[in-house]
Assembly symmetry: C2
Homo-oligomer: 316 residues x 2
């Protein structure tokens, strides 16, 4: 490894086309796989395509952000965001706030000016809070082996990072990097999806159960995380020209198939995913000296890859 490429860990979210083989079979006891091996050894059944009805495309001039929605956890907010997208509510709105180590947020910059504010036609302006949901043991749940600082149990459910509390009988999405939520005022039921934010820094877990999370960015995160930070209080942009315009937000199902982002996401209910958690919990790549022996939910990758590359690999 050259000096220029002084790397220190492989935080790979998108699979590289070249994989690595498992340790040679003459090793007495197979070494646990590293993540690259888990990914290259995975089968098509370890991956799932995005559901076009629960996928949003946030389109900028600079490119597309793909968001997977979480109807199991915020059914009414998900339905409302889709309705807002379908009535073109978001088209021409803008990124209004980017606060370092916190969030990027978009909204109608004219929301406070009744004569200029975007009108809502059929969707809802506000909704009752969906900060958590009833504990359902039938929902898939792959627990993490280590205790979490904030919640009695954490793990993954249907591709989303989730916390559970059997004592209170609640489950909720957690504010990992890339999670998308509905901004609100102080009143708990004052949100609804007209303002959305995404986490662009260290997971602000104190927001869990205080605001409705409704999805996760699965591609295009850099189009949000690399935005200039706003200079106003809380990272709001002070000048209109600083706000990045949104071309549109569309439900993927409404986009012609040829224009969709054909992605697949690693399932979180498989042996392969449990191996991936372990591979990141104890890093065995040559660079590492001390495997951590623990992993926190914010540090578990959720691999995404283009769907045709995966299929062609396994057809060979």
């Amino acid at each position: 490894m050259t000096r220029l490429h002084k790397i220190f860990g492989f935080t790979v979210v998108a699979i590289l086309v070249s994989g690595r083989l498992l340790a040679s079979p003459d090793t007495a006891k197979p070494k646990p796989p590293i993540m690259a091996e888990v990914l290259s050894n995975s089968t098509p059944a370890d991956w799932r395509p995005l559901d076009p009805e629960n996928t949003l495309y946030l389109e900028f001039a600079s490119g597309r952000v793909v968001i997977e929605l979480a109807p199991a956890f915020a059914p009414r907010h998900v339905a409302n965001v889709k309705a807002l997208a379908r009535e073109r509510y978001y088209d021409g709105l803008a990124i209004v706030r980017v606060q370092d180590n916190y969030v990027a947020q978009w909204a109608d910059p004219n929301a406070e000016k009744p004569e200029l504010a975007r009108k809502i036609q059929h969707a809802r302006a506000t909704l009752a809070a969906e900060f958590d949901r009833a504990f359902d043991p039938n929902l898939p749940f792959t627990p993490l082996p280590d205790k979490d600082v904030y919640a009695p149990e954490v793990g993954f459910s249907g591709g989303f990072p989730v916390a559970r509390d059997r004592h209170s009988g609640k489950m909720w999405l957690v504010h990992c990097y890339g999670m998308v939520g509905a901004g609100r005022d102080n009143a708990p039921d004052s949100g609804g999806g007209t303002e959305l934010y995404v986490v662009i820094g260290h997971a602000p877990r104190h927001l869990d159960r205080n605001v409705t999370l409704l999805g996760r960015v699965v591609q295009g995160m850099e189009l949000l995380s690399a935005l200039p930070r706003g200079t106003g209080a809380l990272g709001f942009y002070e000048k209109p020209e600083q706000r990045l315009p949104i071309k549109s937000i569309r439900v993927a199902a409404d986009v012609p198939e040829a224009e969709r982002s054909d992605l697949e996401i690693m399932r979180t209910d498989t042996t392969a995913f449990k191996e991936l958690i372990e591979a990141r919990r104890n890093r065995r790549e040559p660079w590492f000296q001390v495997p951590a022996g623990h992993i926190e939910i914010g540090n578990v990758p959720l691999p995404v890859r283009p769907r045709n590359i995966g299929a062609s690999k396994h057809e060979r």
Copy 2:
């Protein structure tokens, strides 16, 4: 609060000039202060100026990044980085890598080309690893009340986030957002400070004890975190013109006083800081519905403010 300003939490690192007063004295039991109150009620003794001998200025055309160095934890790396700065090693180098939700890294882009590589004059090219240090009970340490996922104890020491393990007799800096470390190859002693990185995403705690951390960005973080992400593997920039040039890295003590960034940082060994931890552990601002009751080290703010504003406030 207007709809445009749908905010959801006050992650304030830099103090706003206007503070808030404590609850009125006729309340039977004083409410615990929120962070804004802790800050506005703090006294000059709760803050400390940066030590110019242990402060670096990383200068870009776009502005200055201020880094506080941690000689208590990485004395030889800190000395070497200062020596490299003083022999102008870094001047004209560049940001070579920006990987989303991970790190920004700078280095000599020509490090692999002996005829073009920057020569080191008196400083060291590599150093023995300083991944951790001996547990010293005499070093200041303000523990966090909650158990950490990765380490037996976590807390703050002299302004830095730290972990401790009495059993192994070790202490180490932890990879919170903004922490700065020395890139290395696979060999543990192959780093030394010629390549430096900063954490720009969710704290990669699995790197703790695997690489030498040596400081923390205290101002100007957005100049690094908002950089375009590299499109090469691991976020390396593929084209030379994409790399952001570094004008210089200087030790603050070598900069004329009038040109220094006159900052102060909240001390981490005071009652005020313990109150701040508690204020963030249980958020009581009106927006919050459910105080978390826990806090993880990555979510504890380390307030920084301009020094003259603080002084003038308390002289009134």
